[in-house]
């Protein structure tokens, strides 16, 4: 275990967030049992008031989870100095088996939180709170995710002992090692370029289609998820070599460093926000037939529009980063 302020901060956040989510989860159970919208009984009034507390708690949980995701990556990056052989965050995450699961869980929580907030925002406009049961069921589903994330992060930090030799980016992604990351880098760049282009066209078309005809929300959800995963794979196996101008450097974190003009932020922020709003569009579109929500189709449209714009931004920045690079790979390396 390393007694490092950033690690202490991350553990503090995960402990407090866990507590907040457990409070919210316990309330969710009570609400699912006793909620009666039409009643004027004191229990109902009390439940109703408490929904404000839970909404507030969940909004902050989302904010803190987002910060903790950022800080986690930063910390992994800064710890790389203490692990001989770990050139960057990748090596640190590799130092024990809990690193990558923690990161993925944090990302999952980010999207889970975004979905919950989107549902909450829509539900708060329907005068009979039509989604309240779905909303709180979803919250109950998020609870175990937070528990597992807190546990996994704790194991990761407890298991870190500095100066054990870890593999650096180069060896992690070299094609002869097994594991997810190795397979990512083994994807040939030209296939990846096609996949990125296709998934991009698909997600943009389905987003525009939804904006025009107001239909195809489930298609939008699927294309958004596919586009997100493809984009992440493309960052690792296609974009990062161009950005680093080095055909075998496949690190998804080093692009966040100043040495590369912080271009990682320009890529990741639009990508994550686009995915979150695409999913939010799909999640809010399902309920448009509910009478009290029928007037709020514009919210879904807003999410869809935001998603299209942000995805477009992501693709433009990707294309620009390849275009501007001095590295020539097509037909040379593959």
């Amino acid at each position: 275990m390393l007694l490092n302020p950033a690690i202490l901060a991350l553990l503090l956040v995960s402990a407090v967030v866990l507590l907040m989510v457990l409070v919210a989860g316990q309330f969710a159970l009570r609400l699912l049992r006793h909620w009666e919208i039409g009643s004027g009984s004191e229990r109902q009034l009390c439940l109703e008031r408490r929904t404000y507390l839970i909404s507030t708690l969940m909004s902050w949980v989302f904010v803190f989870e987002l910060l903790s995701l950022l800080l986690f990556v930063y910390t992994a990056e800064s710890l790389s100095g203490q692990f001989v052989g770990a050139m960057c965050a990748t090596g640190v995450l590799n130092a024990n088996p809990w690193g990558w699961p923690t990161l993925l869980l944090k990302i999952a929580l980010f999207f889970g939180g975004a979905l919950w907030l989107a549902l909450n925002g829509l539900d708060n406009r329907g005068y009979d709170y039509p989604l309240i049961r779905h909303k709180y069921t979803l919250l109950l589903l998020l609870v175990p995710l937070v528990v597992v994330e807190a546990f996994s992060q704790l194991r990761f930090f407890l298991g870190l002992s500095p100066n054990i030799i870890t593999s650096c980016c180069g060896t992690l992604f070299s094609s002869n090692t097994e594991g997810v990351a190795a397979e990512v880098s083994a994807l040939p760049a030209d296939t990846m370029a096609w996949a990125l282009a296709l998934s991009g066209v698909a997600v943009l078309m389905s987003g525009l289609g939804y904006m025009k005809w107001g239909r195809g929300a489930s298609l939008l959800a699927v294309t958004t998820m596919v586009a997100f995963v493809t984009a992440l794979l493309a960052v690792v196996s296609l974009l990062s070599p161009y950005i680093y101008e080095h055909p075998h450097h496949h690190c998804p974190f080093c692009i966040l460093k100043s040495g590369h003009g912080y271009i990682g932020y320009l890529l990741y922020i639009p990508l994550f926000a686009a995915t979150a709003s695409g999913l939010a569009a799909a999640a809010t579109a399902i309920w448009r037939k509910i009478p009290s929500l029928s007037a709020y189709g514009f919210i879904t449209l807003g999410y869809a529009r935001l998603s299209v714009v942000l995805f477009l931004l992501f693709y433009l920045i990707s294309a620009w980063s390849v275009f501007r690079s001095n590295l020539v790979m097509q037909g040379v390396w593959w």
Partner: protein
């Protein structure tokens, strides 16, 4: 818009030893564009009834309609939304916020509705002009006389352009001359098309010639007659 109450009950501290039924089944109609007055001794449930009529609180059982909308059963979020577009309130102790100027007090109810600032200020100045407070706009409310404070409270109640005005014991802190003037102001508002609902145990109010209808209340029930 008329307001209709059907078998409305309000119970406090439900299920506890100190359970207390403030309104015990009231049904009534309050016509639009009239001055109605709820009358009764203190403890008769006037204030509780008024707060349910003004959708400040929800009945424990029974129904309340505003026009053709059912209000009872709406969560606070939507009840408040309807209330701030429809009702203006004048309270017994004026309830102005000390430390703020007259103008700042008047525009407070508009904040959650987020109108444009310029329009809001123009609107407020127009109201102050009507009620003879134009020169007081920037003075602090704690320096006002009782009559002035009352007029500021009226301006605040009118800032969002409500259809219905609700006043709880409006004359409790006024001398008889100001009470008379207040009733005249209410009558003017009624002639301008507003509904006025008062609650009072002051004969200057409920025996006033301008009052169209008296609703008398005793121990949480309507008194016939």
């Amino acid at each position: 818009m008329e307001i209709r109450l059907d078998a409305v009950r309000k119970v406090f501290n439900q299920g506890r030893p100190n359970e207390f039924c403030a309104i015990r089944g009231v049904s009534l109609r309050i016509e639009a564009e009239r001055i109605s007055c709820v009358k009764g001794a203190s403890g008769s449930g006037k204030t509780t009834l008024l707060s349910m009529i003004g959708s400040l609180s929800r009945p424990t059982s029974g129904r309340i309609h505003l026009g053709d909308r059912l209000l009872s059963g709406l969560p606070e979020r939507f009840l408040t939304d309807i209330r701030r577009h429809t009702f203006g309130f004048i309270f017994q102790r004026f309830n102005l916020i000390p430390g703020l100027s007259v103008l700042q007090n008047i525009i407070l109810p508009a904040f959650p509705l987020a109108p444009s600032y310029k329009q809001l200020i123009e609107n407020a100045h127009r109201l102050l002009e009507v009620y003879g407070l134009a020169d007081k706009a920037d003075s602090r409310v704690e320096w006002l006389s009782g009559g002035e404070a009352q007029r500021v409270a009226i301006c605040r109640a009118l800032i969002n352009g409500p259809q219905i005005l609700v006043a709880d014991e409006p004359t409790a802190n006024l001398d008889s001359e100001h009470s008379q003037r207040f009733m005249q102001q209410m009558a003017e508002l009624q002639r301008a098309g507003k509904t006025v609902i008062l609650a009072s145990h002051d004969p200057l109010v409920y025996d006033n010639a301008e009052v169209d209808r008296i609703i008398s209340l005793r121990d949480g029930l309507l008194e016939e007659g």
